[in-house]
Symmetry: C2
Subunit: 343 residues, 2 copies
DNA sequence: TTGAAAGCGTTACCAA
DNA sequence: TTGGTAACGCTTTCAA
């Protein structure tokens, strides 16, 4: 059995309310009594029971974080930043791996609510699952996905702008046959990117026949590989590919190289997310991403606000700026790449 | 304000104890009353407050998971399996990213204890931090690290055997100048692997001068690169390298290739952990790992037992078998040929 | 400043 | 079976 404030009260010959007050710094002055209480608390190894505290205060220091696949580096990198931001703000995070399963998402939602979390941060399985978070008693923040639900807050990169930047960059490089490989299953993020990509090609006067929009066929790397291979086999080989994410880009690279073409010369390839792999010397993928640190901090903010100000923080929107990480797959750094291999 | 059992009691004209009993299935028979209570609970959208439940029951469904770096694929892959095993056993997990910082580890330990977790699963920052987990009121399970602390449980791969297997495999491939690249900072895991590696070379009668033990110089990939480069520059190029982990192995590969040698032919390279990118076509690294699913299940077990049987589960040890994942970096085609010739 | 008492939402005991 | 009551560990109000 662990030490409670009653134990301390008994030792110090005071009431347990006094102990509570002293330990919570609700006393105006420092009396010898105060010191005695604090020192015996330390001596007995007293640890407050946060369950009891939160029960009486009706506010908790726990948030739920729902992630489709924590083993996927994109998500684990974001998770790290969210956990860090949460810890800095005094929150503990419940990790919930939804496994791309809407039922698990729903199950975790209920479980988190029963655990009295102060808020829920969720990278949703799909756009359709947003409705599940309507009208909850705690703030919900969607991460990496915008939404039409007016009550939900969200934090997202400016995807349209990001893809626009990518296409402009390709065109500035002299590329003229552009392709965007969309996500296997449509969502706002993927269609926003498509929209920005198409807008940039139109603005640059690229003929519609020279712009391909295809879709990753199946899971991640393999999907990008198949989509690109199909394009090549149909004699529609592009000279620049923007992929929905770095995995798909990697698959595209594989298909390009198998066709005897050189990535960065014959075909420029760019991805999204800047996952750890992408910086590996053998991969060296050019990619676009927001700052994950910013993402994490922005995710916690609405929850922090609601707890602090005690007024519902709903429908807060935070748009993060995209950053392009230039590496070798679009050709600019190809000289450097060769040097490092020879050295 | 959310719905409580008292609200249900008022509506149904019964006492709140009856409601509690019905909702917990502590009634022998189904009376019309029972059904009414259950249906109004559903109608009012009642969700039990687990904080209150756990306070009175003095047992919680939360476990703490402490990880040095959740963004590192090795750790995020294990985290996924632990979360999954925990969820299957009815536990929620608090994710704590210790950032390789012993002070953070200690801070999280205290915070988890205050949150009344049922147990703590920890991948420790270093061997020295094990003492921090002595004498806690809840079971502690060390993951991926054995320990001399008698009260702690641990789950670990048989590292000595794994490295022994690796060296035997190299030798079977005809390799004769073997090298093990140790972890930058020594720990049981790394020294156990070293021990097994050396034992296998001795048993095979490899001369001591042909066995190199070096140490990764600095962080991960770069460390493996530098250590290998140094070996090559000193004209001690090995024909087989076992690296402490896949990152270090990747660095070693880079150094080998930069020296104009071919991985899998001139030099065989093997790592540990089988992280996601080791399976990428461009990497294709041969590596050794336990089953992470087994790891996750074994990690939860002592906590589950203690909660169920209510007797302290201390010092439980689970040793997992290593699995070698054969890919391209050891030139395994040659190995297969030789094996079939012998067979 | 202090202590007694109420209450947070729940479970569990005991007498009816 | 049922309801009243106590208890879990804590915070907070209120009267002294």
């Amino acid at each position: 059995m662990s030490v409670t404030i009653k134990d301390i009260a008994k030792v110090c010959n005071v009431s347990h309310s006094t102990v509570s007050r002293v330990l919570n710094n609700k006393c105006a002055r420092q009396t010898p009594r105060t010191e005695q209480i604090i020192s015996t608390a330390k001596a007995l190894g007293y640890k407050p029971n946060t369950l009891a505290q939160q029960l009486v205060k009706r506010s908790s220091n726990m948030v739920g974080l729902m992630i489709p696949d924590i083993a996927n580096p994109h998500y684990s990198e974001i998770t790290k930043c969210v956990e860090d931001a949460a810890a800095c703000a005094g929150y503990r995070v419940f990790l919930c791996n939804t496994d791309w399963d809407v039922r698990k998402e729903q199950m975790y939602r209920d479980s988190l609510l029963e655990s009295q979390v102060a808020g829920i941060i969720v990278m949703p399985v799909c756009d359709e699952s947003h409705v599940m978070f309507r009208g909850l008693p705690v703030p919900v923040v969607l991460l990496g996905s915008r939404t039409l639900e007016p009550e939900l807050s969200y934090v997202v990169m400016d995807n349209e702008r990001a893809a626009h930047m990518a296409a402009e960059y390709f065109i500035g490089l002299g590329r003229r046959r552009l392709c965007y490989i969309a996500r296997p299953v449509e969502n706002y993020t993927s269609s926003d990117r498509e929209k920005g990509f198409l807008a940039a090609t139109r603005e640059a006067g690229i003929a519609a026949k020279d712009v391909a929009i295809t879709r990753s066929k199946g899971h991640a790397l393999k999907g990008g590989y198949r989509a690109t291979k199909q394009l090549i086999e149909q004699n529609k080989t592009p000279d620049a590919i923007l992929a929905f994410n770095d995995f798909i880009a990697l698959g595209a690279i594989q298909a390009v190289e198998e066709a005897g073409l050189t990535v960065g010369e014959d075909v420029a390839v760019m991805g999204f997310d800047d996952i750890l792999f992408s910086s590996l010397p053998k991969i060296n993928l050019t990619t676009i991403t927001p700052s994950n640190e910013e993402l994490g901090k922005a995710a916690i903010l609405p929850i922090l606000q609601q707890t602090r100000d005690d007024l519902p923080a709903k429908g807060q929107v935070k748009i993060l700026q995209p950053h392009m990480v230039l590496r070798a797959t679009c050709g600019e750094n190809i000289a450097r790449k060769r040097l490092s291999i020879q050295a």
